[in-house]
């Protein structure tokens, strides 16, 4: 474990890196919501996914890259949706439904890791357990959204969360940025300023240009005819 010194403080490099990336990813989620209009599942799932992807990448020397994390997310998403679809018609208490969905997701992961292990030459999956568990927690959100919204909306939200998390993953993998952040925690002041700016932004979100297309159309016609 590498120990570094920041402003006279001795701290592990890993911890410092994690600490510095949390505000950056959270800011990114805020930027995506208020400037671009992609909703995502919120701060927590995106953060958890990004960190999980990062950790999964470092764990197995053979299966590296983002694909691992994405694969597990995909398995979780499919399992949670399938199990929900299976039991949505049966009437039972809400929390038992959630438990059944979690159980289904875990079964899915166990089965798929059996197959995944074949990809590894030593026939064992050397993955850190915690990131996998963290990814499974998004199934809770998945189901909560599926009950209230349409399935298409949920899929879009999931995709958005994965997109934000992936960008977060690439930022964490970007050595130059990581080095700069680790040794200059004062960058957080800039992050604060960016958040203040986003917080005060009252203009359109990028997706709203598409959402209000019909109004633009009719109003443009009026302008043209005048």
């Amino acid at each position: 474990m590498e120990i570094i010194e920041v402003y006279g403080l001795s701290i592990t490099k890993e911890l410092m890196m994690l600490l510095m990336y949390v505000p950056i990813i959270v800011t990114m989620v805020a930027f995506f919501r208020y400037m671009l209009g992609t909703k995502t599942f919120g701060v927590y799932p995106s953060l958890v996914l990004a960190l999980s992807y990062y950790y999964l990448d470092t764990s197995d020397a053979i299966l590296t890259g983002l694909k691992y994390g994405l694969l597990i997310t995909l398995i979780v998403t499919i399992c949670a949706t399938l199990v929900y679809k299976l039991i949505s018609k049966t009437r039972m208490h809400y929390l038992t439904k959630i438990s059944i969905i979690y159980t289904g997701v875990i079964i899915g992961i166990i089965i798929s890791s059996f197959f995944l292990s074949y990809l590894s030459p030593i026939r064992t999956l050397r993955l850190i357990p915690l990131p996998i568990l963290m990814i499974t927690t998004i199934s809770d959100r998945l189901v909560a959204y599926q009950i209230k919204k349409k399935i298409l909306t949920t899929i879009i939200l999931t995709a958005e969360s994965i997109l934000v998390a992936s960008i977060g993953y690439f930022l964490m993998k970007w050595d130059a940025l990581a080095e700069m952040l680790i040794y200059n925690p004062s960058i957080l002041i800039i992050i604060l300023l960016i958040n203040l700016l986003i917080g005060k932004y009252s203009g359109f979100r990028l997706t709203e240009f598409i959402r209000f297309k019909e109004i633009f159309k009719t109003n443009l016609e009026n302008v043209d005819s005048n």
Binding site: Y94, K150, L152, S202, G203, E208, R211, F216, T218, N219
Partner: protein, 494 residues
């Protein structure tokens, strides 16, 4: 040009989510008011206190222990189960009827639920399955709204509801949401219900939208004109009954709720009339697409106005945001809409005049503005004799007045002669013969160029002495083919 217009519209006219939250919801809706509005039971109590009718509550279920104690026999044939803090119509079950003799109720889609199934649904509600943020909730059993006859023709199973955005005591924008087959009887736009814009002044529907069925970008809509499930029904031009009353209720609800910016949902009950469904502290933005108009512009105009009474709020809305429908009907029918009393402009003959300075002969067209009564009860149009004189038709009229004939034939021949005479001078008159005591009198019908609400046409006027009547001119049916008369149109004094 195109892009700059879009940017301009997005900056000033249309309300985006960021702007809504920052400029209207946060400053005007306090957290207490928001909590009160989200709580349906509390909301009903507040509204009932000031005499606004809501759906009456049969039972409120707070806990699972209480759920066990419900006397199912006492429940009526039709009722609704609702989560107290639900959103977007989730968790609501509407029962339309009951099986005879058994404790089984029939849902709007025909599905039958027994007591056990209803109990699981209620306990789901209590567990917070449908509430905001999955918190524990309360279940409400309440009266089912019975569709008003007009609304019944337009709805698929559910109840259409009217959403009115009220800001600073002024109804700013309104829409009507129709449940469809796709929305499964829910009046929720995101679920696939139709949203139709309403003209605030008249309560007549305008443009409509429906969510795209498959779209990767959420919240994109198609414009539609006809009811989806009943394509023979046009969505445009529906006159909503009790419109003024509905607006008053909306304003009053905003006042009572303590919310500065609110969406009031109102349904029309067959027996009770307008009934407030719920108050919304964070009303959505789809209403803009339904109306094809921006909210931001309207909110800016209303912000800071000192409205003291409900009537004042109503009047402000009607004057500021009304009048869309009139243009619409005009564009549909191609007919100009005029008031029962209009100022018309008459253009008479050219009269030679001498200008003092140049001592040169020029001509001047004689014109006069008069007030006219638009009378669909009359066939012909009439004009006062004096006005006709002013327009230069004096010789024609006098010619006819001097002709007196004993018999009808004589009158006809003499009148025909006069017609020929004036035709030579390019005045294409016709005549009428009226029997007066012993003699027959002929009257000319004089064609005069007339401007009614900017439409230029030649009208044949019957000339009468109307000096003692209040309107020197009457426009009859014969000359009103290009017009629609709107008794509600305001008389403009030019």
């Amino acid at each position: 040009m195109r892009l700059s217009t879009i940017l301009k519209l997005s900056k000033n006219s249309i309300l985006g989510l960021n702007k809504r939250n920052q400029l209207y919801i946060r400053p005007y809706n306090t957290s207490t008011a928001k909590n009160n509005a989200d709580d349906k039971i509390l909301c009903k109590k507040m509204l009932n206190k000031v005499g606004i009718s809501t759906t009456s509550t049969y039972k409120v279920i707070y806990s699972k222990e209480q759920l066990k104690l419900i006397l199912w026999d006492n429940l009526p044939k039709s009722f609704v189960i609702k989560p107290n803090k639900g959103t977007g119509g989730n968790g609501i079950i509407v029962f339309w009827g009951k099986r005879k003799g058994i404790l089984e109720w029939i849902k709007s889609n025909g599905q039958v639920l027994d007591v056990a199934q209803i109990k699981t649904h209620i306990s789901d509600i209590l567990d917070g399955r449908y509430s905001m943020g999955s918190k524990k909730d309360i279940a409400i059993l309440e009266e089912r709204v019975i569709n008003n006859d007009l609304m019944k023709t337009y709805s698929y199973r559910g109840i259409p509801d009217i959403r009115i955005i009220v800001f600073n005591m002024v109804p700013v924008m309104a829409m009507l949401r129709f449940p469809t087959k796709r929305s499964n009887g829910k009046a929720n736009v995101h679920a696939g219900a139709i949203a139709t814009g309403i003209d605030i002044a008249t309560g007549i529907t305008t443009t409509s939208i429906i969510n795209k069925k498959f779209s990767l970008i959420p919240y994109t809509q198609d414009s539609i004109d006809k009811m989806v499930d009943k394509p023979y029904l046009s969505l445009r031009g529906i006159k909503i009954p009790y419109w003024k009353k509905i607006l008053r209720i909306a304003i009053n609800s905003q006042l009572v709720s303590g919310l500065g910016y609110t969406g009031v949902d109102i349904a029309l009950d067959k027996n009770k009339g307008p009934v407030v469904f719920e108050l919304n502290a964070r009303p959505g933005l789809a209403i803009q697409i339904a109306n094809q108009k921006g909210l931001a512009e309207r909110l800016q105009r209303v912000e800071g106005l000192k409205i003291k009474t409900i009537e004042q709020g109503l009047e402000t809305a009607r004057t500021l945001f009304g009048g869309e429908v009139q243009d619409e009907i005009e564009s549909i029918s191609g007919k100009q809409i005029i008031a029962p009393f209009e100022t018309i402009k008459l253009i008479g003959l050219e009269k030679p005049t001498k200008t003092k300075k140049l001592k040169k002969e020029t001509t001047k067209t004689l014109k006069q503005r008069v007030r006219a009564r638009i009378d669909t009860g009359e066939y012909y149009s009439f004009l006062d004799r004096k006005v006709a004189f002013n327009l230069g038709f004096a010789p024609v009229i006098i010619d006819f007045e001097e002709a007196n004939s004993k018999t009808k034939d004589e009158a006809t021949t003499s009148a025909q002669k006069l017609v020929q005479k004036w035709k030579a001078q390019f005045i294409d008159i016709s005549f009428e013969i009226i029997k007066k005591s012993e003699s027959y009198k002929t009257f000319p019908l004089i064609p005069i160029r007339t401007l009614i609400d900017e439409i230029d046409k030649k009208i044949n006027y019957k000339i009468r002495d109307r000096t003692r009547l209040s309107y020197p001119a009457v426009i009859g049916r014969k000359d009103l083919k290009e017009f629609l008369v709107d008794p509600g149109k305001q008389i403009t004094l030019k």
